[in-house]
Structures are given as structure tokens and as C-alpha cells.
Symmetry: none
Subunit: 223 residues, 4 copies
């Protein structure tokens, strides 16, 4: 279907028809609209009419691509996961320097690629609907959370091995260290939008890193 560099390329029209282009782009447009509204209002409170009109199509069109509202929900989560995993790959790719610097760098990348984008709404969505869509929740847990936790655990282990970090319970430490990051994403899509108190993400993450790396303790290595 996707047809890279064959002889038949010659007979392919250079300009795809509008119809065709639309057809292929549709599902992504629809899930994008759905993600935004699911995150904003929750699954139940989001009307298919709203999703459709936000995507610029009629309600019936949704059913050309998704069997039901639930199927759309699942597609939203599934589709939202791919970029996150891609981001994880990018993050893991190549880095130099200490493990502390690595963590710093990973966090910045996460913020750029996930936290600051609409993908940052997924955690809130999955958490809110976990009881109503257990499969989705455990899938998200497995595909995203566990994987990210694994990544962090490896970094921590290397830090310990290098004598850079203290020995610790890896599992728990990873969870605890992720919590402020997840909460940042969650808050940005919920309470921070209501009250007047909006958090400065950059400063928040910087504080998180400092605390994580040094803790509260004032005890210092004597020079």
C-alpha cells in the first residue's frame, strides 16, 4: 500500500486526490480531536457530536473509522502511545556524561516531546477511565509506564554501579521519581486549568531534579 521506490511509481499520480489524502489522514484527525475532548471533559461527558465537529466532519463519519465510542477511546490511547514510545527511543538513543546529566537530559526531552504536548493529557485520561476500561489501563501500564520505569531503573542501576548513586530499592525509587513528572502532566490538564495557580513547568522539573539528586539534606561533602 505504501509503495516506496518501485517501477510503478512512474504510473502513480504525483498529486494524490484530495479525497485520497483525506481518507488517509482522517483517523488521525479524529483521534486528535477525540483526545483533546476526552482529556478535557472525560470520556462520558464528551459527545460524539463534539468530536465530529471539532474534527470538521459529521457524526456519521466517525463510524466509518471506529465501531463505537469505546473503540474510539481505545484508538486514542493506542495512537497516543506510539509517539511516547518513539520519544522513549529517541531519549535512549545516544548520550554522554554522568548519569545525573543523563536524567536531566531525559527529563528535558520528555517535556519537549510529551509533557508539553497534548500527549501529556493521556495519563489523566487513562487514570480517570481506568475503572471503566481496565484493559486500556493495564495496556497503558504495560506499554508506557512499565517501559519508562524500566528505562529509569537501568539509569539508576548504572549510577549505583558507578558509585554515583546510593544503593536503593530500584522499583520503588523509579515509581517515586516518576510521580512528580506524571503529576505535572496531570495537573496541567486538570486543576491547573481551573484555579489561578498555574505551575511553571520548567522550574518545577528543575526543582524535582535537584531534590532527586541531592535530597533535602544539607549535609555536604567537605571540600
Amino acid at each position: 500500500m505504501s509503495n516506496p521506490a518501485t517501477i510503478e511509481v512512474i504510473s502513480e499520480p504525483l498529486v494524490e486526490s484530495t479525497r485520497q489524502r483525506r481518507k488517509e489522514a482522517r483517523p488521525a484527525e479524529l483521534t486528535a480531536a477525540a483526545l483533546a475532548l476526552f482529556v478535557e471533559k472525560g470520556f462520558a461527558a464528551t459527545r460524539l457530536d463534539d468530536i465530529a465537529s471539532r474534527a470538521g466532519v459529521s457524526k456519521g463519519t466517525l463510524y466509518l473509522y471506529f465501531d463505537s465510542k469505546e473503540a474510539l477511546f481505545k484508538a486514542v490511547v493506542l495512537e497516543g502511545i506510539v509517539p511516547v514510545l518513539d520519544a522513549a527511543d529517541v531519549i535512549m538513543a545516544g548520550f554522554k556524561g554522568s548519569n545525573a546529566e543523563l536524567m536531566q537530559q531525559l527529563l528535558v526531552m520528555w517535556w519537549r516531546l510529551v509533557g508539553s504536548t497534548s500527549l501529556g493529557g493521556l495519563p489523566k485520561l487513562v487514570i480517570s477511565e481506568a475503572r471503566n476500561f481496565p484493559e486500556v489501563a493495564s495496556f497503558y501500564q504495560d506499554a508506557v509506564i512499565s517501559r519508562a520505569r524500566g528505562l529509569l531503573k537501568r539509569v539508576l542501576q548504572r549510577g549505583i554501579d558507578a558509585g554515583e548513586f546510593r544503593p536503593m530499592n530500584l522499583e520503588m525509587s523509579a515509581d517515586v521519581l516518576f510521580a512528580p513528572i506524571l503529576m505535572l502532566a496531570i495537573r496541567r490538564h486538570s486543576v491547573d486549568l481551573c484555579g489561578s495557580t498555574s505551575t511553571d513547568p520548567e522550574l518545577y522539573l528543575k526543582t524535582h531534579m535537584e531534590l532527586a539528586l541531592h535530597g533535602l539534606s544539607n549535609n555536604r561533602l567537605s571540600p
Copy 2:
């Protein structure tokens, strides 16, 4: 919408209208049932029928005490806040020893009085419905989160003053330090109930404290 007084009741406790008195007599069973179901299924997916039958009353009875489903929701949050605030008072009451020990003790108490009870479901509920009930969210923010943050900030300040803690951005540090606690509560009422991976709360909180107090760093005061 139809009943903004519900929230403002808090600030006008001196006048006891008929309505007021009725509202005080309001069976806690109703809000307890509602809290459980709202936390479990979310606001929209919870039917008044279910709340009523869980509370052992008929659906009509709910309307003797609450003007609408929204009013019930607000009451649930409001009522759930009181014990939290009481807990905060208890916690603040009397303590001895270092600030680190204080934090430890506060955390244990929070877990006993809030985190391990059904009240621990409130954060998830408020977060999930924040966009649909902004007043509730910002009220919760003000009444609970901000107050708890203030408490923590005071502890941190004292630790800094005593030379026990490093200087830091108090606001951000408090938020960051709360995040793992909130996430614990949130997870216990969402994703932890789906997958097979349930967290051990005691160990989780212990790890949080250790990380918070010492950080990841292995640098130690040389003897």
C-alpha cells in the same frame, strides 16, 4: 449552577436556615455511597440509582437532601474535605524532634487517616472532574492542597532555618514532595486496580522519604 450556596455554606455557618439544618442532618450514608461510586466509575458513569441502592434508599430520597447530581458531587467533595482538614490539624498539633522526623510522622498520619481510607479517592475524583466542575477543583485546591502545601512549607522553612535542610524554592519543593503522595492515592484508585502490579504503600512511602531526605546522591559526610 442551581445551587452555588452549597460551597459558600462553609463561610456562613452562623445562620441556620431550615434548609441548613436539613442539610446538616443529611445522612452521611448518601455521600459515602456517592464518594465510593464517583471514585470508582467517575461522575458521569455513576447512576443515581446505584448510589441510592448502595445507600439502601430509593432514588427519590436523594432529592430530599440534594438538589441535583451536581450538588451531590459538590457535597461529596466538601464532606470529604473536612476529615482531611481535621487530620491536618491533628498532624500539626504536637510533635517533637527533628524536622525530618516530623515529616516522617506527618506522612504516616496522612496514610493512616487519608491515604489508606476511601478519602484517598478524592484526588483522583477531583482531578478527573476538574474541567467539568472548576469551582470544586479550585475549592479543593484552596482548601486542601494549598493548606497542606502551606503546612509542608513551614516545616521546610524551619528545617532550613535550623540548617537541617538546604535552601530551596519552597513552593516548588512542596509541590514536588507532595506529588508522590498524591500519585500513590491516585494509583490505588485507578490503574493499580486493573493490572496485576499493585504497589506496597508502606515501602513506597518509605522510599519517598529516603529519597526526599537524602536524594540519590551517594556523597556522604566523610567521618
Copy 3:
């Protein structure tokens, strides 16, 4: 529930409340309205709104008594069957005279109790929806058609035993003899309502009996 002549009768209010009376009569009112409309327009073309308003209730009320449109359909057929079976019992009860006279009498009773009433619409309904509701069709077949066929077969057998009727294939003969009766009921609820040619049921049934008893043949017993 139905409570004939007990001591407790004394404590029962003589006048049932309007509400109560309504509650008990409701399902029958609803199925009556549904039967009329299903027969008239078919299952799919009948809107629940129409059924509700014909029964003088709101659409939602239907769902207090029936889980779905399909459940209502099944209830219509089930409920329609009871009187038919009752009629069959009445018909079987007591008769004197020849088997030919018995058949005549049975036919007249069927017409009075079934054919001329709205129950006469059931065969058309069941036939029309047989493919979409196979269970209902085979249930109707078993509960009504087979039973009626059995009744007729017994009459035929007795006629044969008495030397009154010719030997014959009982099964097939019963089916063939029922056909004109069923067709009368079917026609009265379909084509006869459209064109200008309405059949005179009495004459039709009389002709059926004559043909059945004597056939077309002009051969006569010599005096």
C-alpha cells in the same frame, strides 16, 4: 398476589389506588398497543414513540416494563398466545354430535375468540418476523400451531374411526385444512385492508367447511 377469600381480605383496602391499578394494568396496555402497531406496520417500521403514545404513556415508561424493543415483541407474542390457548381449551371442552358438526363449531368459536379479534393479527406478525426472530417463530409454532394441529388431528382420527371421514394423511390434512383459516386471518390484516376487495369472513369460512367436508366432487351417495 391474587388473593381470593382469605382472612386478610378484611385488611385489604376495597379501593385500589389509581397508581396501583395502573401499575398492574400497564404491561397489558403496552403489549396491546404494541400488538396493534406491530401487526399494522411490522416490527421495524413501528416506532416505540408510537407504541407509547398509543398506550398513553411516555417512551421511557416502556423501558420500565420491557428491556428492549425485541423484548416487547416477544412479550406481545407470548401474551397473545395465552388467550389463544384458552380459546383452544374452551373449544375442546364439551361438544356433542358428529365430528363434522364439531369442526363447524370449533371454527365458529375460533372466529369469535381469535379470528375476529386483534389476536387474529398474530399469524401475520409471526410470519413476517420469523426470520428475524426465529425463537419466537418456533415457539409460536410449538405453542399454538402444533397444538391446534394436534387438536384437529384428533378430531379427524375420530371421524375416521367412526367411518365418517376417509382415511388420510393426518398431518398433512390438518395443515391443509388450517391453511384457509390462517389465510383469512392474515388477509384481514394485510391485503384486505388495501384494495377494495374485502372478504366476507362468515361466507368464506362456510365455504371452507363445505369444501372440506364434501370436496368439489359431485358424486353423491345414491338415495
Copy 4:
């Protein structure tokens, strides 16, 4: 409604408008597919999608030949009538022997050409939709039923004239004699497909003829 011409086309065959010509070119596959599905599921429960895919075309193609689902329905009945009338002509063509033998022969032909084919589904279809398509029903009544009845009446009259049959009410007798034949067709396309009790058509028709010709009576011409 939008296309009453569909039926009247029959009476104005001389003028060939563009539309007319297009309609005549109308592929029989479409109406054949439609007939099968209308008979199987009823008019309302049949989706144009299903008809199209059964005919191996796209849904849009149906609209090249028929203005609406209703127009398609009418065409199905109209088109289904032609072979029946042709069959009637064949049947009437040439026969020898007694009128009883003629009836026998006519019945066999009807079974071969109509009853055993998919055309046998038309009576059920017309009956089921008679109330929703009165014009179609009365047209079918006039074009098929009445004509067949006329045919039978002539045979009966000749039998009476020849002293072969008893005098009788011709109209009613014809209707009664047709009923078992129609019921056979109807049953084969409805209830017989559900339960386990399928009728043997040949035996059924044979029984019908015997009963019609001799009746139930055992009275015999003494030799």
C-alpha cells in the same frame, strides 16, 4: 411517493423516455438480490448495503437504477410478477382431459415455476408490507391474485357445467382453494425455516388436491 410512475409504467409502455430506457436496462441482478433479502429479512430490516454487496456492486450503483429504496421494492414486486403471469399463460395454454386433471396439472406447474423458486417468497413479502405499501399490495392483488383466481374460477365453472363439480360459490371457493397453496409458499419462507418441522411440499400439495376433489367425506358412490 416520489415515484408513483414506477407502477404506472406498466400501463404506458408506448412512450420511451430516457428514464424509461434506463429503467429497462436495469440489471436483473439487483432486483434478484433485493428480492432474496426482502423476503428473508423484510423491507425495513434489509439494508441497501447488503443488497448491493449481494449483487456485487457498490451501494451508489443502486441509485443509478432506482430512485429510492421504495422504488426498488416496487420494482422487485413488479418484476417478480412478470414470470408469474408468464407461468399462468403457459399453464393456461393447452391441456386435455378432465377438469380435475387440469387442476392437478396447473398445481404442478405452479410449483415448478413459482412455488419452488424464489418467486415463492413474494406472497410473504407483499403480505408483510401491505400496510406500508398499499399500492403495491393492491397492484399485486389485481395483477396476480385476481388473475389467478379468475383462472381457477373458469376451471371450476367448466367443472360445474360438465357435472363434474358441485355447484358452489365460485369466488369464495377459489379463495379457499388458493389458501393452502399460498400458505405453502409463505411457510417455506418463514416459519418452516426456523423450527425443525419442514413440510414436504409434494405430499402437501397432493393432500390438498385430494381433499379439494373429494373432501373429507367417506360417502362413496356404491359400485
